[in-house]
Every structure is written in C-alpha cells, then in structure tokens.
Symmetry: C2
Subunit: 372 residues, 2 copies
C-alpha cells in the first residue's frame, strides 16, 4: 500500500439517512477512516474466503480503537452463495457473540458481501447500523452506494431484500491492486453504464482511459470511482426507493439478469452480464428508433475494449428468445407481466418503457450465439 491518493468525499443526500462516500488510498488501515460512526460495544466484519485473508486483519486493527470487540465472519465467495443459508451465517455469528442492537456491521468485499451484509443489518433485531467497505471495482462504483440490499431466490435475482442505507462507504482504491483482471472488467461495465444514461463527456473520458483503468492506474481509478459515485448519488437522492428515475441505473440489467439466472448464478459475473446486456439494450433502443447504429457500434466497442462479452449466451436451444422473455418477466421492474426496459433515448439520456415482444425477439436472435 505504498501508492497514495488523497481522500475525496462524495456525499449522498437522503435527509436523516444521508452519508459520505470516502474515496482514496490507503484508507482501511487508518483508524481515522472510521471515526464518528455510531457508538457501540461491538463490531462485526463480514467478508468472504477470498478477501478476508487479504484485508480482514488490517480492517480489524483499524477498528480496534473504536470498539471493545471486533468480530469476524467469513462467508463462501460468489454469487451462487447469495442465499438465505449464507445470510444466516451472519445472524448465527451475531447471536453467538451476543451482539446487541447497536452493533455495527462492516461489509468487506464485493457486491455479494455488501448486499448480504446490508440485508443482515436491515433485518438483525429489525435494524442495526452498517458500513460498506467495498474491495471490488464493481462494488465501489455501484453496489455499495444507494442502499439496495438483498439475496437471490432460485426464481429471480435480488428478489428478497430491503432498501437500507449504510452509515458510510469507504472505497479504498489500494484494495483494487489484488483484483483479478476479469473482476476489473466486470466493474468497468457498471462504470461505462453511467455514460449513455447520464454523462456522454464521461463516456468520452472512458474511451481514452480504458487502458489505464485496466492496469490499475490509481489516478484514473480515482476519477472513475468518484464520477460514478457522483452520478449514482445524484440519481438516488431524487428517488431512493425506485419509484421512477432510479430504474435508469438498471441499464443493461434486464437482459443481464436473464443471462445470470439462465446460466446459473456465478457462471457469468454480474458485470459481464450487464456489459452484454447494455449492448442488447442499445440494439433494442436502435430498433425502436431512439439511437442510431453508430451509437450502438460505439457502445459495443467500449464494452469489448473493457474486456467484456458483447454476444449473449444461448439459454435454450429450441426457443432462446422465449427463454430470455420468460426470465425477464420476473424482473422487479415488470408490471402485470409486462417487461419494462431501460433504454437509451438519445445519447446521455435514459428512459424506462415496454417494447413489443417481436422486436425483443429480433434483438435476442441478433445478439446471441452458442459461441458466447
């Protein structure tokens, strides 16, 4: 952790649920990073088998001055474990340690750890405070911010959960040094997303800095994480519980969730499915006359340049489009069985709307291959 990046703060304005996102390197080794959180006699660090050996001891040492006891629970790693059974390991640890309703939880890991720790915090004794300490690029730019928590159900992703805001988000960029390149690419998918839906200047910048981001350049990462968090904070502040606007952050996710569920959770990384899903959603936008083919080609190039798949998997050899449609009908945005897509309504602007099945089928047929 020799390289340093001075700490920047992005704030997310949600009245009495407001909080700060600290972005810098290093952060998790410093007790000051965790000053001013709610007082408690105990903290519980929740991590997984991959991240805990790398960073749990460092974080526990930084928390030690603040809490009389700092416990640790280590979960199995991966989307396939984002289940009630794994969530229950957190409750087991809390109860085994006699943790009371003031106990602060710290989510140390990627999106799966963050989503499950947040839901455990929302539910343990009907709510205890928690802090997000994301160690993957995807979690730093997206899943740790905004209070969406939950677990998967065999019939749908993130179907059980809560809107529950953390007390603070701590994005330590130095933890990204240990991130495998496949995970860096997955994180880039959620970064790229912010361009077409909200900020084409950011998309321009990304086209010039993909290489730097993929080789862990700290300055480039700092800018990408900060700008992503700013856009997300701005959207979430206007629509915390996804009554409308917030759904635009799900660009690429309707097709993406179908890929994840159809392949079996954990086969494709969430970011990989979202990357491919954005390409499919761009194609659908084009077929609806909302953007031109040049825009689709530009976005496809960027997704490909990030090291992400741009061709969808065949989920059913007999009726692939039908299988995608079935899976998309259980999306949380669906209403009365009608799928709602996040589409690009001209560069830098998103809309949420339905689309004729026949057009959706054409997009799926054009975008999928058994070679994927």
């Amino acid at each position: 952790m020799s390289a340093q990046i001075s700490t920047q703060a992005v704030s997310i304005d949600l009245q009495d649920r407001s909080y700060a996102i600290a972005i810098g390197a290093p952060l998790i080794d410093n007790p000051d990073t965790f000053a001013g959180l709610p007082k408690a006699s105990a903290a519980l660090v929740v991590s997984n088998t991959t991240v805990a050996p790398l960073y749990a001891a460092t974080l526990q040492a930084a928390l030690a001055p603040h809490y009389a006891a700092v416990h640790l629970v280590v979960l199995p790693d991966g989307e396939a474990f984002k289940t009630w059974q794994t969530l229950n390991l957190i409750f087991d640890a809390l109860l085994a340690h006699h943790c009371d309703r003031k106990t602060v939880l710290f989510a140390l890991g990627g999106g799966v750890v963050g989503d499950m720790t947040g839901f455990a915090a929302a539910s343990y004794m009907r709510g205890v405070p928690f802090v997000q300490v994301p160690t993957t690029l995807l979690a730093q730019v997206d899943s740790s911010v905004g209070g969406k928590t939950g677990i998967n159900h065999p019939l749908g992703k993130n179907m059980v959960g809560a809107f529950y805001q953390p007390q603070r988000v701590v994005c330590d960029l130095s933890t990204l040094h240990t991130l495998p390149s496949r995970e860096v690419s997955a994180g880039l998918a959620e970064i790229i997303k912010y361009g077409p839906i909200a900020d084409m200047a950011f998309l321009d910048w990304l086209e010039g800095h993909l290489g730097a981001l993929r080789t862990h350049d700290l300055s480039a990462l700092a800018h990408a994480v900060r700008r992503s968090c700013e856009i997300k904070a701005h959207v979430v502040a206007q629509d915390e519980r996804e009554g409308g606007l917030r759904a635009i952050l799900n660009f690429g996710h309707t097709f993406g969730h179908a890929i994840e569920a159809g392949m079996g959770y954990g086969q494709w990384l969430h970011g990989e499915a979202v990357g491919c899903g954005m390409v499919m959603a761009a194609h659908l936008s084009q077929r609806l006359g909302l953007v031109d083919t040049a825009f689709v080609a530009r976005l496809t190039r960027l997704v490909q340049g990030a090291g992400l798949p741009t061709v969808g998997p065949v989920l059913d050899a007999h009726d692939n489009a039908g299988r995608y449609l079935d899976l998309m009908r259980v999306d949380k945005k669906a209403e009365g069985g009608d799928i709602r897509f996040v589409l690009i309504d001209g560069p830098g602007k998103a809309c949420v709307r339905g689309a004729p099945d026949v057009l959706v089928r054409q997009v799926i047929d054009a975008c999928c291959s058994t070679q994927a």
Copy 2:
C-alpha cells in the same frame, strides 16, 4: 356472522406511513372494507392450515372486486413454524404467480401469520404493500398494529425482521367466535398489559369484564380491542422504531421470551408466557421498591382470572435462574450484555431499566415451579 357491531376506526399517526385500524363485526365479507387500498393487478392472501378453511374463501370473495387475481398460500400453523423455511413459502408463491412489486399481501390469521406476512411484504422486491386481517384476539390488540414484523432464530425470538407498517388493519370481531378458549386467554394477556403500563382505569374495567370477554361478548370485545389499539397507536406514534418509549409495550416480554425459548417455541403460547412474565416483572418491580405487594397480588389475580399461568416453568433443574438469565441476555433490549427490564414504576406507569442479578435470581426462584 349474524351478530353485528358497528365499525369503529382507530388511526395511527406516522406521517406518510399512517393508517387506520377498523374494528367491527362482520367486516371481512364486505368488499367495502378493502376499498381505497393501493391499486394492483394481484393480491396474495397468506393464512395457515387452521384459519384458511374457516375464512380464506370469504376474504378472497371480498377482495375479488378489487384485484384481477387473488392468490392464496397456506402456511403450517404455530410459533414453531415462524422460521425462514416457512417465510420462503410466501416468496415461492409470489414468484410462482409472477407477482410484481405492486402486489398487495393480506395476512389472515394470528400473530405468527401477521409477523411473517409483514416481513415477507417488507422484503419481497424490497417492499410491497400489505394489510393485516388478524383473526386472533392477541393479534387484534397487539401484534397486527405497529409494524413489527419478523421471524424467530433458534437462538432468539423475533431476531430477524423489519419495522414495516401495514396499509390498514382490519379487526373483524366475528372471527373471534371460532377462537379456542386457550387462545382467548393468550390474547387477554396483551390486553391486561395496557393497564399497568398506561391506564389503570382500563385495568378497573377489565376486572369487571373478564367473564364477558372470555365468553366472546361482542360489546366487551369491541371495547377491549379499541382501547388496546388506542394505547398502542399512541405509544407507537411517539416512537415507531423503539428508540425508547415503545419498549414499555414489552412489559412481561423479557421473562416471557425466556420461557418461550427455554420451553421450545410453541409449547407455551406467546400470550401465556407474557401473562406469567408480567407477574414476574411485577415481583421484580416490587423488590426494587417501585410498587407494593398489593399491586403484585392484584395483577396476579387478574392474570389468573384470565386463565393464564402465573407460575413460571423450571427451565433447568440445576441452575434455573442462570438459564433464565442466559436466555434474557439475548433479548433485543439488552445492551452490552446487560438485561433491560420493563418494570412498573407505580400503577399505570412503566420504566425500562436494569436490575441486579441477585434480585432477578430471587424473583425467578420465587416465581418458578416444576408444577407449572
């Protein structure tokens, strides 16, 4: 359902989460009872194997004019089934029926059905609306009001859940006609509770009407349910998330939860454990000099007159008091391992405070018997 009681309404004031409690007989057979709820294409009635055969068809018929589809899921009956496995049956049903995030859930049953349906509503797609239709006296006067939802963990009662308010509470007094007398007594425990903590005039009234209540007199039930809901609504409006005051509603519950957990969930009914727990808490209040022995005797007589146990079970033949203390340390009110008791601080007034272990042990020794 020939006997009628005109409908009364108690409102609970929680800003944008405010709602009404309708009390009358009959109610669940009338579509008007359910007018004005959030619009949705589907409703899901959640009930159990005891209540569903009696009232599910009636409720479904009354809901039919409001929703294109009214589904039903029937859970196993009893506190022993207040688990994640049972909760998951609700999610399974919601997903099998492709229920979207506007679907309205209706909890038709007692406290267990209400707590689980509320938690399912809080968590399904991160929150859908729900309505409480309590069919037990205990649920009508206590558990259906105030938004406490959740499930049990093997190591503690209601350890996993959410504060999540219903859209409406419908207390149909005519459903109490089918309630077994043991369940009526259990409900009376939560009614009696409101006297010592808030309203001694109500305690006077109860002493004169126990017989009428135990024989299902509709006028007496209407008064008891309304007054109980009024007191609970008043307390919850001041402290929705139990930062302080709301804890007084847990009078009798600290000892009671230890009895329930120690005996195994479902052996003692929740109301039976609370009845006995109130007697124990009154004894502790007396030993701390907060009330006199005449008050303890009066409360004990009333609990006994309601058909409830007043002597606690022996949970451990070798160190019974130690076992109670261990179980009470996982109570949600405990802080840093210190048990917090709801005590009577003079008739009609409650306080929340700790007590020396030695005094608590004396109370347990004096109040428990293997004959219980």
